[in-house]
Point group: C2
Chain length 257, copies 2
């Protein structure tokens, strides 16, 4: 190999791309922005942008997330520190994509991050995108059982379909063995609401009795607040907050794969 010469290395552009997921209307959805410029002008893409010269990768991801959603990241391996813009979201590094040619203009290495957010009241305010939406993931991945057949797939710019697919797969497997599903819920939530998160992310139906026993029996997963709510109708349900536990032992079991 050539000797290590600081003044002579191939220059790269480094960006962060964000897979932001939420659960809305009993379905898993991803945040997309419409591209205003070539290439892929007018097509949908993941939010993202350049990493700034003095900026940590996690900080760049947190900044982009707040610009797009108003959410302030916490948790994961990213600790951007201060400033609670809104209720927190989970943010973690996903993977890095650097194929030559993934961006036709130049050599770009993108460090993708995964964010999990609760259902936001406002669709998508602020941000630099000329348009933004929460798209159901079935319309992006071409999975089975996701809505009607006449809904066609939304093509994504660059290699973003691949990145999104990896992010969804990470989320689906990670809620098995961690308490991450609570990141999709508001600060206080019911067992039933948490169950509907699992059902939406996995695309399955779970037994309410066994689910209730499982989550309330796992130490540190849920902490009762003492309050109740009837916002889902029916009998009042206990409210919980997310407990301190991050790793679930034993894990939640996803039915027959």
């Amino acid at each position: 190999m050539a000797p290590y010469d600081p003044s002579d290395f191939p220059p790269f552009a480094v960006t962060v791309d964000l897979v932001v997921l939420t659960v809305r209307h009993n379905g898993l959805r991803a945040l997309l922005v419409r591209r205003g410029e070539a290439p892929y002008q007018g097509q949908w893409a993941l939010p993202g942008g350049f990493v700034r010269p003095g900026e940590d990768l996690a900080a760049a991801a947190g900044r982009e997330l707040e610009e797009e959603t108003g959410l302030c990241a916490h948790d994961g391996e990213c600790e951007s520190g201060s400033g609670e813009a809104r209720h927190g979201a989970h943010l973690e590094q996903l993977a890095t994509y650097g194929d030559p040619g993934r961006d036709p203009r130049m050599r770009v290495v993108s460090v993708a991050h995964l964010a999990l957010a609760p259902d936001l009241p406002s669709p998508t305010a602020g941000g630099d995108a000329s348009g933004a939406r929460w798209a159901p993931v079935e319309r992006l991945l071409g999975e089975e059982g996701g809505g009607r057949d006449d809904e066609q797939l939304l093509p994504l710019a660059f290699d973003h379909a691949r990145i999104l697919s990896d992010g969804i797969e990470r989320a689906r497997s990670k809620i098995e063995y961690s308490s991450l599903a609570t990141a999709f819920c508001p600060a206080e939530f019911t067992v039933g609401e948490l169950r509907r998160v699992y059902e939406a992310v996995w695309g399955v139906v779970l037994d309410p009795r066994n689910f209730h026993r499982k989550v309330t029996g796992t130490p540190g997963f849920l902490v009762p607040t003492g309050g109740t709510t009837t916002r889902q109708g029916g009998r009042p349900a206990q409210l919980f907050r997310a407990g301190g536990a991050t790793l679930l032992n034993p894990p939640m079991l996803r039915p027959e794969m």
Copy 2:
């Protein structure tokens, strides 16, 4: 955010760093190279180098791995394609480290990869490093129960201790639910040899009877070759190759954590 201008972006150096693990003398070991230049001259570091202008990230990692060990990578998400230099090893992307200041000379973003290799006959031939060694991981992480107390910790250059720690953690958790432990074994191996891999990586003792039943009962994990060996002494043991299965269901269970 500033408009997207291809000719005006902050330039970064992009490197790959390698966490190469093997099992040797009943212990988990990592490949280290001695640095020939400042900074951290003379200290031990993970092998790695710059990504070349037209080169994929996985290809860069595979190239570095072959330069350092003579191994040809396969499997994982990295498919560097052709050229079987020696028996294959597992290679996958680990994580990306890009703190400003992690390299005092310039802004470097390093895409770390994890490689799992069988015990190599020759210590470490070839490569560009002035020195190389397989270091027991206990001497690098300061864990309990790893050898005598008078052995002191080896400090690593840059943030490589963190990267190594992340790589080891990935390997430890991934052999639970995948057939990856076979990547530490030669092409043909016995159930006992595979068990010693698990014992070395996890630092535990497993019940030979239950282990045997578990791995032979998991469809697609092991394929008998028909041959036997007595290289471990005692009664001849059946030889196996790794089967096609990558995900183990149900997973191997790591004793009391």
